[in-house]
Symmetry: D2
C-alpha cells in the first residue's frame, strides 16, 4: 500500500492534484498495488471525481455538524467522496482526546482512519485507539530524502513489535524520506504493510516513474 | 452586503451547500443586493461552479505552498474559485501575527479579506492591518437569535466610530443573532455596510424567504 | 492517596495556597493518608517551603532549557521543590507526542508524572506511555459536585480493567465531582488507588473538614 | 530601560535567576538606569523577594480566578510580587482577542503590560490596545547576536513612526540580537526608549559586565 500525501505543495494543488492522482491511478491499474492519495480539502471532490483509487482527507476535526467555522467535518469530506482521513500528521498534531474522538467519528462514518505517530511509543498509544492504519514517521526525516528504513530501521522494527503487542489487526505504514524503490522494499521487510510518502513522489521530476518504482518494489 | 457563513451545519454541507448558495444567488438576482456565501473547504469548488455570486473560504492559513499537511492554502481555495476568505472567526481565532500575515497573503493573491473581531477594541486593532472587510460579532450572541443590533447597538456604533479613526476605507459588517429584516436595517442605520449571518439563514425553515427579507431590508 | 488540584482558584492563590496546603499536611499527619497538593506555578516554591507533603506542578512543557519564553520547564518546578507534575489535565490538554515527551522528561528528572485522561480509551493510550499515575476524569462532571463514582462508575471500572491489560504498575486515580467521603470510598471500591480533587475541597466552607473526611474514607 | 527576559535558560533558573536579578539590581543602583527582569513563573516570588527592581512575568492568561488548571492567573503573579508581564512574546504568541483581554486585565490589576510584536504592522495593531509598553522583535533575529538595530533599523523606525500615529504615550522597546552597548545606543537613536534582551545578557560570560555596558550606553 502506497499513500501519497499531497500536503500543500504547489505541485499537487488544484488541477495538478488531479494530474498526480491520475498518475497514481495508472500505476494502480498497471501493477495492482494499492495506491491512495491525500489532496487538500478543496481538491477532494474534484480528485475523487477524476479517479477511482481511494482519496483521503489530510485531517478532520473532532466535531459534529454545528457552529464550527473553518473546521473540517467528517460528513463534508465524506460527501466529497473521501474514503478516509489522515489524523495527527506531524504537521497537524492533535490533542490525545481529539485523536481518540476522531478515530471514533471515522469508525461511525465509515471512513478509514490513518493515524500518524512520530515514534514507537506514540505508535503504541495510538494503536490502543484501534484506528485502521498507523503510519510511523520520525519528523526529523520528513522531507529530507533520507529514508527512515535506512537511517532509523529500529524505529520501524520497534513500532511493529510494540504495536503488535496491543493490536494485532492494525495496518502499519512508515514514512519520512522514502525516495526510492529500495526504501519501500526495506520498509516492507522491516514488517510494515506499506508507506506514506509525500515529497519523494509529489516533488519528483516524474512522479509517475517514482510511483511505478515504489509499486514494483512493494510487489516483491 | 449579506454574507452567509455556512459553518459546518448539516443544512449547508455538500449538495445542501449548493442549494443554499443557489437561493442566495436567486435573491441577488431578484434584488440586486450583494450576497456572498462561505461554504466548507470541500464544498468551495462545487459551490463556485454552481453559482456566480462571491464564494468565500471560512479560513486560510498563514502559509506558502509547502509541507503543511492538513492546512488551508490560499492558492488552493483560489484555484477552487473562492474570491475571498473569512479570517479569525470567533470559532477559529488566530494569533495576531498570523492574522497580519493572512491579510497580507490575501492581498498578494487578490483574495478579499474579511477579518472577524469580537468587540470594538479588537476591531480597531484589525482595522490597522487594512483588510478589505471587518465583521464585528460579540461571541456571546452568536447563534442566539438575539440580534447584536438590538442587544448591543453600542458595540456596533463604537466599532464604526473607532475603526473610522484609523481606517476610512474598510467595509464594516456586523453579525451575531441577526434573524429578521429589521435587524439588518438596524445594523445599517448604526453605520455598517452589511451583515455576516449564519444560523439565522442556514437553519431557517425557508432560507430563501429569510435571505429575501434581509436583502429587502438592506435596500432601504 | 488524595491529590488536591488548586487550579487557579482565588481560594488557593498565594497565601491561601499555603493555608490550604497546611491543612492537607495536617490531615496527612493525623491520618497517615497520602495527601498531595498542586498549586499554581508561582506558588510552588512558597508552598513547598511551608509543607512536607508532596507538591505537584499543574503542568510542564515538553522542553529543555532554552528559548521558550512563557513556558514551564521541568528543571524550574523541580528546583522550586515540586516532586511531580500533572500532565494533560482536561483544562490544559496536550498533543499526544507532547504527553509522551513530558512523561519521558519527568522520568529523566525524577518527577512523578500524573497524566489525566477523559475516558477509558484515552486512559489506556496514556497507560502505554508508562507514567507513574493516571487520573481519569470525565470532563462533563468536573466541578459539578456530581461524583464520577456514582454517576459514571463504569468509566472507572472500564478504565481499571483496560489499563491493567497494558500496564500492571501504574497508580490509577479518578476525579470529577468528588465531594464526600462516600465518593472516595466508592472510588476505591471500584478499583482506584485514590482521588484527584479540586473544588470539592478548595471551595468547601471548611477544606480541612472535607480533606479529613476524604482521608478517613480512604482508610477503610 | 533595559528588560532582561530570562526565558527558560538554565543560566537563569532557580538560584541562578536570583543571581542574575541581583546583578541587574546592582547595575541599576550604580547607573540609575531602569533595569527589569522577567524570570520563570516558579521563580517570580523568590526573585521579587531578593531584589527591588521591577519583576515581570513572562506571560499571563486571559482568565479570571476559576477552573483553569495549568494556566497563569494575573492575581497569582501579582501576589508573588510581579509588577508587570510580557504578553505575546514570539515564543508564546496569543490570539488577538486574548491579547486584548490580557491588556485589559493587566490594567485592572495594576500590572504593567509589555506586549511583544514581530513587525511594524503588528506593533501598530498592538498599540491600539493601549498597553504600557510595546517591544518589537523580528523573530528571525532573536538569539542570533545580529542586532535588529543594525540588521533591520527600518523595522524600528517604521514601528516608531507608525505606532506614534495611533498612540502617543506607549513606551517603545526593541529587541532581538542586542549584544553590545552600541546596539542599545543605536536602538535609542532610532527612537525607542529601551531594549528587551535575553541571551545577549543571560548567556554572556559575565552578565554583569554586559548589563553595565548596556546601561552606560543607554545613558548617552
Amino acid at each position: 500500500m502506497v499513500i501519497v500525501n499531497f500536503k500543500t505543495y504547489a505541485e499537487a494543488t488544484g488541477k495538478r492534484a488531479v494530474e498526480q492522482a491520475k498518475k497514481a491511478e495508472r500505476v494502480h491499474r498497471e501493477t495492482g498495488v494499492s495506491m491512495g492519495v491525500a489532496p487538500q480539502f478543496a481538491d477532494i471532490a474534484t480528485v475523487a471525481e477524476a479517479v477511482e483509487i481511494p482519496v483521503f482527507a489530510q485531517h478532520i476535526d473532532p466535531i459534529k455538524p454545528g457552529s464550527y467555522t473553518g473546521h473540517v467535518l467528517a460528513e463534508s469530506v465524506k460527501e466529497a467522496r473521501a474514503v478516509g482521513t489522515l489524523i495527527n500528521h506531524s504537521e497537524r498534531q492533535l490533542k490525545l482526546a481529539d485523536i481518540s474522538e476522531i478515530v471514533r467519528i471515522a469508525r461511525e462514518k465509515d471512513l478509514i482512519s490513518l493515524v500518524c505517530a512520530n515514534d514507537p511509543n506514540v505508535s503504541v498509544a495510538v494503536a490502543t485507539l484501534r484506528p485502521d492504519i498507523i503510519a510511523v514517521e520520525p519528523p526529523e526525516l520528513i522531507g529530507t530524502g533520507i529514508p527512515v528504513s535506512k537511517a532509523k530501521p529500529e524505529v520501524i522494527t520497534d513500532t511493529v513489535k510494540l504495536v503488535r503487542e496491543v493490536n494485532s489487526k492494525v495496518t502499519i505504514l512508515c514514512g519520512a524520506g522514502i525516495s526510492h524503490g529500495e526504501d519501500v522494499s526495506a520498509a516492507l521487510k522491516l514488517g510494515t504493510q506499506g508507506v506514506l510518502v509525500a515529497s519523494g513522489i509529489v516533488k519528483a521530476k516524474d512522479p509517475y516513474v517514482v510511483m511505478r518504482e515504489f509499486a514494483e518494489a512493494s510487489k516483491h
